[in-house]
Symmetry: C2
Subunit: 342 residues, 2 copies
């Protein structure tokens, strides 16, 4: 069943639970490391042939039920006018963080075909290469998460700069998130037009916020994106980590699938969220580095907690770590398929 | 009412809601910075006169309802045999991380009067200085949080080393957490014997774990500590961050008060936890750097969500940040007292 991932996103019956992994293309695979020896991360992202190759590696090796475009959530900030790079072994570094009204004013909205044409070219190639045998997931970062990088200049431990701007300069904050939301909306629309069967919105760090702050400062901007995609009809996965108390607000902001991390047992997530939305998750990525017996038991527990109702996509709660064995990942794919037949 | 903090811990009626702050002694205060110019952090911790002075600074300046001993959760690891220091502007650095059975075997249990006599001397002095006008809180780190520093060698972003050991070497893990739990239990018993009116157990990073992992790998060790303190009769605050899905398991591990961070609205926390435990929290520390009007509204919201039943101690969801204005902290103290009279 080539489209079991898409069917599960729509909460339609499937033969077995679909499974894919965040960062399924990455350093844990020898094939990927071989390419990374020759090219930098951003070179791969910006060269459609390389992005296509890297996207396809885990599809060939693992038998996952979806391919996810190889890219980085920060790609859109460059055509907005913000230069960044990845320091060796570190996360991203933004040259000039965006911290005031003037910097927000300078941020450009852009036509995705012009600013990110290489990504859309990769989507088109992938759509042809995959030949409707495996669905393709496009993606983008969500406004809060992108804003946190822009404001902090990189990854943060407590998001102090981000929250200071949010609380003290709500007009600047809203102008920034409005621009990011519109950029992301256009980018996702373009990915869908280029052939993505589904898209995922990564609000990876939004779990730093209290529910009232999420509702006041973030939810309207996410809703702008997700309500603007609804007409496309493709499934939209709305993902975050540390979001145990935000799930209902995230659901209400939009998306056909809610991504849930390992902190929230899926039976509780489904009970809280109701039947109007599918769920994706939620194994702790470190369990891929646990003994096989424990890994097996925890995979089975995720399936059991997800239950028999349609609408579960198996995934981790966050991305695969570089130290992971590909054998463990393949083991999970096979076990999910074997132990979820209906 | 000198003991409104202790009464609230015991869920007894109080005149107004008691308030104190994690890291209420710290770099945000000029008085503290003046001392830090002359002494290193660990020198202050290890010199009773300095620890006493720094502990008293916020009591004098702010009118908080409790003093908390100035110390660091890592102090007990040195008499266990693990050297550490604070890098300039960074977190702690453990010289030789504890990552195998041999290293765990080498860890020493110790008599707190010998290994941490300077802390207990500070507690005794503080008890005399405070003269039953302000209650004194002692504290220690919890086994998971301490283990994460020992294993990672410092602060971590994803706790990968910690979880790898936990999943792959459960015997080593349990031996490590058993030793830490016994060290912490003895240390807290000694602080109580030296005069602490209450103690707080800081499991600051345990919110990284799924509930089933918490139950399997952490809860028994926390229970060893907290059940071993019950006879003392002093209130015990059990604190963590990012613990939205762990609250019931933490309550069941013990403690008379559960610390809750800003991610969990206090009305939801109290509804879930029932009337057998008090709650402490839960303003986002960054709100202390927000405009006064917003800060006021959010203080009032915390009080409202905490409700009128006895058993709420006002605090932040985590420690005060160095960039905070003491005026904002004082404003919160006064507002909590003014807007919570019963």
């Amino acid at each position: 069943m080539w489209d079991r991932f898409l069917r599960a996103c729509r909460r339609e019956p499937v033969d077995v639970t679909p499974v894919w992994f965040m960062r399924q293309a990455g350093r844990y695979m020898a094939e990927y490391r071989a390419i990374r020896e020759k090219y930098k991360l951003l070179e791969i992202c910006r060269t459609p042939e390389l992005a296509v190759e890297v996207t396809l590696q885990p599809v060939r090796a693992l038998g996952v039920d979806a391919a996810i475009l190889f890219a980085d959530i920060l790609l859109p900030i460059e055509p907005m006018g913000v230069a960044f790079d990845f320091a060796a072994g570190e996360g991203p570094v933004i040259e000039r963080p965006v911290t005031d009204a003037a910097a927000v004013d300078r941020l450009r909205l852009f036509d995705p075909e012009e600013g990110l044409g290489h990504v859309l070219a990769a989507v088109r190639s992938l759509r042809a290469e995959l030949d409707n045998k495996t669905p393709l997931i496009g993606f983008a970062g969500a406004p809060f998460t992108l804003a946190s990088y822009l404001i902090e200049g990189g990854k943060s431990s407590n998001y102090a700069e981000t929250k200071r701007l949010m609380y003290n300069e709500p007009k600047v904050w809203n102008a920034l998130l409005e621009k990011l939301a519109e950029v992301v909306r256009r980018y996702l629309v373009a990915q869908i037009a280029a052939g993505a069967h589904a898209v995922q919105l990564f609000d990876s760090w939004v779990g730093q916020l209290a529910p009232n702050d999420y509702a006041a400062y973030v939810q309207p901007h996410v809703r702008h994106i997700l309500s603007g995609l609804g007409e496309s009809g493709v499934p939209v996965i709305h993902f975050g980590t540390g979001t145990a108390t935000l799930l209902e607000l995230q659901r209400d902001a939009g998306g056909s699938v809610l991504g849930v991390d390992w902190r929230v047992p899926l039976d509780q997530a489904r009970a809280r969220l109701g039947n109007g939305v599918a769920v994706q998750g939620n194994l702790d990525p470190l369990l891929l580095q646990a003994p096989r017996e424990l890994l097996a038991a925890r995979v089975d527990e995720v399936l059991e907690r997800a239950g028999k109702l349609p609408g579960h996509i198996f995934n981790l709660g966050h991305g695969i770590l570089p130290e992971t064995s590909p054998d463990a990942v393949k083991f999970v794919v096979d076990r999910v398929h074997a132990n979820s037949s209906r």
